[in-house]
């Protein structure tokens, strides 16, 4: 009976975010895997754009999911789950950059820099983005790629709205200068 009941459980793909959150917070590994299937690609993209390193991005996502059960016990559902997950991922990624800032300025995984296979030319934009200081790149990525508002960025990064605007301005200027200097 117990086995039959376990088999009749709906697959994690059919569960709502709220159900998965409850299960993960209770230590359910299958539900954790379900959240991974649902959101890992999106979170990995955010982490990669911030770190510009595949290995670092995977480490960030690894840490996020490893700590998710405990963190979800404090999840207050004030926004969407995906928004909360992104904010957590951004903070973990930024924390990683702070601890390895020199490597962050160099890191660029060539195989994922652009949809090209060969042209060194296609690397320029990705290389320029990777060259930006992490603090500027974070705001540039979150605003211009992820589409967040300055208020949202300020909340995620832990800075003021004005600081977010200033960093975006500086990031765009630096990016334009880097492309002009090619």
């Amino acid at each position: 009976m117990t086995v039959a009941a376990r088999d009749e459980r709906p697959p994690t793909t059919a569960r709502s975010d709220a159900e998965l959150v409850t299960l993960v917070a209770g230590g359910d590994l299958a539900a954790l895997g379900g959240l991974y299937d649902r959101y890992a690609a999106m979170l990995l993209a955010v982490a990669y754009r911030l770190t510009m390193s595949k290995a670092d991005a995977e480490d960030v996502v690894h840490d996020v999911f490893l700590g998710l059960p405990e963190a979800l016990r404090r999840y207050e559902e004030r926004g969407t789950l995906v928004g909360w997950l992104k904010r957590v991922t951004v903070r973990v990624a930024l924390s990683r950059l702070r601890h390895d800032e020199v490597r962050a300025t160099q890191a660029l995984d060539a195989s994922f820099a652009a949809p090209s296979h060969d042209a060194a030319a296609a690397m320029d934009l990705a290389t320029a983005v990777a060259t930006l200081p992490p603090s500027l790149r974070a705001v540039l990525v979150l605003k211009e790629i992820e589409g967040y508002s300055h208020a949202e960025i300020a909340d995620m990064v832990g800075i003021s709205v004005a600081a977010s605007k200033v960093r975006l301005h500086r990031g765009l200027r630096a990016l334009r200068r880097l492309l002009e200097e090619r």
Binding site: A40, A57, V92, S135, I145
Partner: protein, 352 residues
């Protein structure tokens, strides 16, 4: 871009132009191995405390860390540049058809000395078609290369703006039409300002062909370069300094002076835009001076012309435009390497 109440429209334009390319940067897929590792580590008791709340303790060190990162970036930039230079093979540079030949690709040293040759009579531009021939001769006056070209001007619009669509199509004779230099430009009818530009040259050096796409917004020139046989692209993002205005593309040059009030003492400057893929090929300043009046006979007819001298980074061009409408009928550049000459003549016209 609003920053402390000030709008930077050029940076806005740059951000808009670069956004699609930023969004197109590829990201790695979420691997199944990572999923397994997470679940295995979790099952084995692995735990991580996530920064769910605001981590205020970090703010004390944030600026110091950011400064270190910036300094590190600056220190590492030369290494990054040198390695990138080694990897780059394509160094595309535009060639000019009328206001010069092969410009010396270099950044202009100083601002133009002559008054800006603004097209204050843009209404004088009309639809029509011109056909030209460009002949390269060696030091013994033997023709070594002949290029037949047409230039068509058509009323059109671009994103709701009344525009002229100017299409230059050049084919090198003797290659079976395989060697092509095509350029399509949209310019505002009101002031001949550049809107968009597309260039295709086939073949280009060791590649099957090269494609340049440009878009002018405010003082920014953005776009991309692609090679026919290489996947990928190089973004174009340049600032057009106002001191070098007006800016025009190569295709527009034979008709541009129709919009300028020429006279026996007229002189002015303008800038021909390069492909802008590399920094040295963005601006090609040109100085123009009327030096006399001559009656010139070309295949298209005999015309009373202003004789002009055009100076550009690659040399000097003798240039004749019709006094009646400013259309170019002849251009001669001597001392074209290796000791030859380049002659452009108007073959025929319709509608002009």
């Amino acid at each position: 871009m609003s920053w402390f109440g000030k709008r930077d429209r050029a940076l806005d334009a740059f951000a808009d132009a670069i956004q699609p390319e930023l969004a197109a940067l590829r990201t790695p897929p979420a691997p199944a191995e990572l999923r397994q590792r997470i679940l295995a580590d979790r099952a084995a008791g692995g735990r991580v405390i996530l920064p769910v709340g605001r981590d205020s303790s970090v703010s004390v060190h944030r600026y110091v860390i950011a400064s270190v990162a910036v300094i590190a970036g600056v220190l590492l930039l030369p290494l990054y540049r040198s390695s990138r230079e080694d990897a780059r093979e394509a160094q595309p540079v535009a060639s000019l058809s009328f206001f010069g030949g092969v410009a010396h690709a270099e950044q202009p040293a100083g601002a133009p000395r002559l008054p800006a040759a603004f097209p204050i009579h843009a209404e004088r531009i009309h639809a029509g078609t011109l056909r030209y021939r460009r002949v390269f001769t060696d030091s013994a006056e033997r023709a070594v290369k002949t290029v037949e070209g047409s230039l068509s001007v058509t009323a059109d619009s671009a994103e709701g703006t009344p525009a002229w669509r100017v299409v230059k199509l050049e084919r090198e004779s003797g290659t079976g039409g395989a060697a092509i230099n095509a350029e399509t430009v949209f310019v505002r009818r009101s002031n001949l300002g550049l809107l968009t530009r597309a260039v295709h040259v086939r073949p280009y050096r060791r590649w099957n062909g090269i494609n340049i796409q440009q878009r002018a917004i405010g003082d920014s020139l953005s776009g991309r370069m692609t090679l026919d046989d290489v996947t990928g692209m190089r973004p174009i993002a340049r600032r057009l300094r106002s001191a070098y205005a007006p800016f025009l593309s190569d295709a527009l040059t034979p008709i541009y002076l129709a919009a300028v009030p020429l006279s026996a003492t007229w002189q002015g400057s303008l800038t021909v835009l390069g492909w802008a893929v590399i920094p040295k090929d963005v601006l090609h300043p040109v100085e123009l001076r009327v030096t006399g009046e001559e009656r010139v006979r070309v295949p298209a007819g005999t015309f009373d012309c202003w004789r002009m001298t055009i100076r550009y980074s690659g040399g000097v061009v003798d240039y004749w435009v019709r006094k009646s409408d400013g259309i170019a009928v002849r251009a001669v550049e001597a001392n074209v390497p290796p000791g030859g000459k380049r002659t452009v003549t108007l073959l025929s016209e319709t509608g002009m």
